[in-house]
Amino acid sequence: MTTSMTTASTEPTPSPTGPRAAGTTTPPRARTAAPTRRKRRPHTPLNPRPSIPLTLVTGLVLLYTLLPLAWLLINATKDQKGLLDSFGLWFADDTHFWDNISRTLTYDDGVFVRWLLNTLLYVAAGAGGATVLAVLGGYALAKYDFPGRKAVFAVVIGAVAVPGTALAVPTFLMFSNMGLTNTPWAVIIPSLVSPFGLYLMWVFAAEAVPTELLEAARIDGSGEVRTFFTIALPLLVPGTVTVLLFSMVATWNNYFLPLIMIKDPDWYPLTLGLNAWNAQAQTAGGEAVFDLIITGSLLTIVPIVAVFLLLQRYWQSGLAAGSVKE
């Protein structure tokens, strides 16, 4: 919450100085405003002047970020022939964008839509469940002194250092013995645990929920569960959104876990499906569907990017509070 406030107070600062630097667009205002400001508010770290060289240098990072995304967007408008014939960073003569999308969605009896629905299922159950567990657990670690609390924390933090993939083989064998492989459960159950989410919620709850408030509720006779839902949970919203988004990305983008757990293409998530299309193009006799892979990739990233952009105000404040402590 501190962040949203500081963001609000620092963000307007560049705009009054903006016209002065970009003087050609609004010369009259710049001329009158510039001298007074120069006198009263010298250039300090607190009141910086936007810098063109710094913007250009950081712009290189921005360019690096955008280049592959631009490539994806441009090439999603081409058919196979266009992909081979035209320059990668410019459009072909004719656009096939809508045609590509409809073919991606209908190819192989609409298997892409099936994968999309699977992914949505994994995200809703896996990321949703992971968030619930992390919020409850983080709240407990922050606000209750129970025996074994320190052990729980130490083990969970230690687990972050254990490579997730190192667990893959034994998890696969275990799930195989339990008859869970090749079912959605094999993807959903491991997604339910997010040690990073628990850590984030623990730090966030410690700060965002004042213990006095909980004490007051207890004295007023509110049960612990009711206190949690009516008092703690509303205060935990920014942290919860942050954990939810990071779990959503992790589940939406998950590749390794479904790769080992799921053999039946009907249960593939999008990532595995795209990989299968790519593998199909490399095998002898397999139909090369590069245009569908590219359009499918675009369709795969659009929803998750949209969610991130729409909710960025909420999750960024949650993240900031989470990163304060060690």
């Binding site: 963000e11 970020t65 490539w71 994806l72 074994g148 083990v155 490579p163 080992i260």
Partner: protein, 308 residues
């Protein structure tokens, strides 16, 4: 007011009541944390235990499964295929992680300095690739790397040059490093930026009054203030490097000669258990990697948290 007086009255409670209170707190605490701990036990602790168990056995064609003690560990530690992969990710780690964190730190400092035009646009856009699945990132870059029909090929044709093939055996590790950097620069930038945001602004003012320039403020105020974020990002990056799997696995289909089935320890583990059916040995290699990763992550944490 009422709040304060009541809690003051409750402060020296009788012993029995205090004990009851503690027991209740323990119950409620475990009630909230219990679901997480239960699932955690199932998907983290149980597989670790099972892997340890598996690593003590060998599955032979003749004689079936037999207990072999630490034989598998001896084999792993002298296995050149394992060591080659380990050296490869070690090299990757030494080059890619500093480059990625360096760029991320510079971007975070630039955005935090308030001296950028359109700083929100920068922050949001640079973070975007984090939302892109490794599979999609691998596919996009893989296609761009292509020397025949990819962007590299396009540039060769257009300019009449012949750029080196990014998917050739000698360059493929660097090409993977580029993909990983692209995916995680924004994520790390955001971690650093969030840490910078909560540095008290008054520190900058004080430094400015003392006559500190901008670089001096960065060096003496900002970097020490975000030390723990730097350590955490480094540890996560080290763990990520040792776990390297997705990107080489995707590129393997485009460059089968450059990326072997034992390219990284994780690829090796994967191919051992899923193409070779050597589950016991795969579990052993996974444990050795897990222990190595944990040791290095722990060492970095100890060094990083030490003052001075």
């Amino acid at each position: 007011m009422t709040l304060l007086s009541t809690s003051a009255q409750a402060a020296p409670p009788p012993r029995r009541q205090a004990r009851f209170r503690l027991r209740k707190e323990a119950l409620v605490g475990w009630g909230f944390a219990g679901p997480f701990v239960a699932v955690f036990g199932l998907v983290f602790l149980a597989p670790i235990g099972y892997a340890l168990y598996l690593s003590l056995f060998q599955d032979r064609l003749i004689g079936g499964t037999s207990f072999v003690g630490l034989d598998n560990y001896g084999e792993a530690l002298t296995d050149p295929r394992f060591w080659d992969g380990l050296v490869r990710v070690g090299l990757f780690l030494l080059v890619q992680v500093p480059v990625m964190l360096g760029i991320a730190l510079l971007a975070a400092l630039a955005i935090d300095s308030g001296r950028l035009y359109g700083k929100t646009f920068f922050r949001v856009t640079i973070f975007l690739p984090y939302a892109v699945p490794a599979v999609v990132a691998g596919l996009i870059w893989g296609f761009m790397y292509g020397t025949q029909f990819g962007l590299v090929g396009n540039i060769n044709d257009a300019l009449g040059v012949s750029l080196p093939d990014p998917l050739s055996p000698s360059l493929v590790l660097a090409s993977i490093g580029n993909i990983v950097t692209w995916e995680f620069v924004g994520y790390n930038m955001l971690i650093f930026y969030s840490a910078l945001k909560v540095v008290p602004r008054s520190l900058y003012e004080a430094a400015a009054i003392d006559g500190a320039g901008e670089w001096r403020v960065v060096r003496s105020v900002k970097l020490p203030a975000i030390r723990s974020a730097l350590v955490i990002a480094t540890i996560f990056s080290i763990i990520g490097s040792f776990q390297l799997f997705n990107e080489p696995s995707i590129l393997q289909k485009l460059a089968p000669n450059a990326i072997t089935s034992d390219f990284t320890p994780n690829l090796y583990t994967y191919s051992l258990s899923f193409s070779g059916q050597q589950h016991n040995y795969a579990a052993t290699v996974a444990i050795v990697m897990g222990v190595l990763t944990a040791i290095i992550a722990y060492a970095v944490q100890l060094r990083g948290m030490r003052k001075g």
